[in-house]
Assembly symmetry: D2
């Protein structure tokens, strides 16, 4: 697995218009700048079509947003781990709440990513799903209650017990996986709160992509993480 340092901030660009094409590269470069400036680990997850463009334009870690559990070959319209790796990504999100997968496909994606030396980040909607995800030994599990996604109401404030229960349940299953939380993460304090609840970082999307001042927001967020490892 490529070394990814923690705590980490992972920025999911989804398919927002504000994060498509050249705009994706611009947002990724801001992330790179703040990461260099502060030393805090920041990664970006652009959509498939922007993956190569972004990965070849910056030096911070890049994740795919999804990968299909299929090998190279006759799989028109699919996304293979091989293509993700060739494009320069360090890993992939798996089972995001907007792209839920079958249990057996998650298991296969985690295995394929590992075989290719890539990082698997499996998303889950609550503590129970998180422990199931953790049982499949991905590198990272991210808990994101779907009902809070895009609301600006951070899970760390609205449902801190979901985060602490997730950490507990995952730790019952394995000590090795890293834990992130997401959904509604929007202010600098949310990142700090996430760490206090026992996670290794956050996953955020609209708050960064649609920020009036994404650079300022990210600088503040990263600032709160300094010295928290």
């Amino acid at each position: 697995m490529p070394t990814l340092r923690f705590p980490a901030i992972i920025l999911n660009f989804k398919t927002y218009r504000e994060a498509t094409g050249e705009a994706a590269l611009t947002l990724a470069k801001i992330a790179e700048k703040i990461s260099r400036e502060t030393g805090v680990e920041i990664a970006v997850a652009p959509q498939h079509i922007d993956l190569h463009r972004v990965a070849s334009g910056i030096s911070i870690p890049v994740f795919a947003q999804h990968v299909d559990p299929v090998p190279p070959g006759g799989y028109t319209g699919h996304v293979t781990v091989e293509a993700v790796k060739e494009a320069g990504a360090v890993g992939s999100l798996v089972n995001h709440s907007e792209r839920r997968l079958r249990l057996s496909d998650i298991r296969e994606c985690v295995a394929k990513l590992r075989e290719s030396g890539l990082v698997s980040l499996v998303c889950a909607g609550d503590a129970v799903e998180s422990s199931a995800a953790a049982a499949m030994n991905p590198d990272i599990v991210a808990v994101e209650p779907p009902e809070l996604i895009g609301t600006g109401i951070p899970v760390s404030r609205a449902k801190p017990e979901v985060v602490t229960e997730t950490v507990e349940r995952i730790r019952h299953v394995t000590q090795r996986v890293r834990i992130l939380c997401g959904a509604g993460i929007s202010g600098p304090g949310d990142v700090e709160a996430a760490l206090k609840l026992g996670t290794d970082g956050v996953l955020l999307a609209s708050a960064y992509v649609k920020a009036k001042d994404p650079e300022g927001l990210l600088r503040e967020m990263a600032g709160r993480l300094l010295g928290k490892t």
Copy 2:
């Protein structure tokens, strides 16, 4: 949860022609007869359309083969837990390898079945998937390597290590779930072998449904389970 005794033999009728309609009821009655005769717990899982007919014709436990994670309402073509219960079933298979579900849907099905007082039996393809299934606290996990299903080559003989690894991994996660194994179970000895590997019973389908003498086969299988509790 309705009491289901273990060890148990669960007979999946799938959508085999030999187990459709009246034939399903006939096969279910044979199972009932052998269960009474031997005292061994035997349950049947007929297809949706036969569920009520079978459940109202016999007194041994009946399972649905699948349930959708939706409430009663505007869900044309779906199968609700409420309908399964109303038909007289004691529970449902979830995530059979021929009807794989999303992780979040498995979690929802397990929850809905429990709320309704029904038994959840989650299928998984290997030890890793089984531990993920177990993390969601169903009543029963059944490991069935898909590549052996329908082959007549029993998992307990072809891949005993899959079964023992499954038991180990599940027990690392929880002590409470019951464990079954399936795939290729075809002879009386396979059932005995499954118990020796640490499971609580077996799930079988074609070997029973397509047997020349299903009654004889089941009597022998049940015989091997006597006194093994």
Copy 3:
């Protein structure tokens, strides 16, 4: 194809609690009574689990709500045309907006239903989808704009142009298919309006299932159809 007379009223029970189990049979018997009383063709579509119970309790036509494009065999949790037929249904809905199918699966379901001598009723969301459905030669196409389903605002009043455009586009493709409309059909006048727009009847669900007086409603609806063939 079993003879189904037109104009026809098809009652979709969905998975409403008010139309589950014994309640499904009760609602089906009311439909049978009104059909006999008025001579108007009325069919019912109960959920899978109630299909046999309803079909063996009444003599009016019964439809399944969905069928999978698979043969009898190792298809746990699926619904085969063979089981639908064995249960006594005359046909099946295909591609209802709450159970959308792939184009290739719709084609396969229509073929399988025809081979078994059953009626195929393909649902579509607008005029364009309806003409695509008609191109696959099902027996019936039902247009139901999904945004009106369950609203009580009848398509025949809210979007009469969708119905007339559907009839036009379908007739450009084939003269042989019967055309129904649905979505929001709730009052006796809606049925009459549907016929005036060139259809052969209606598909309705919640308005009947949740009616305070389903018998009275259906009698009035049927009354409006008398002498309209």
Copy 4:
């Protein structure tokens, strides 16, 4: 719609290893060279992750292999028409047999592509599906019997009647759509045969991607198309 000239040869790179990353660009440049040399219209369809890299490296038309029927926004892991267009593609395949879509999604993808000024190429498995596809007014319909894909046995030779029936059925529905055929297209003569059967060109994949001499093969294929318009 961007002008695409016919007859045309469309090269689907699928997710073949031989057509991933830099290799995709190399294969696309060969196609560009032959297109310039011969004047024959040749387009390429690389996988999502290579779309921008290929489209910005060549001047012949580029297609996406698939597009999701979703708008820009919170759709992690999806492929939007907007991203496809921004990357420089002229259109997208829709409903390839390796990525079958629901009827309603095909209809939505065709509409979204048209709104964005892009070409929609809907794939179908036989004559009946092709006429359904044509009823949704895409720019191009490609018939590809799935059982012949990747076999090297060309549909134009193995099942010429499927091609002629497809042309007939489509023309009954609309005069405006262009028709391609695919599956097993492997030799220069197959392209010529496809035109004689009434199509406007071919869709091919493995024969080109895995050819020992892709340039030579394509030159011969293109040669056979000269003067056939």
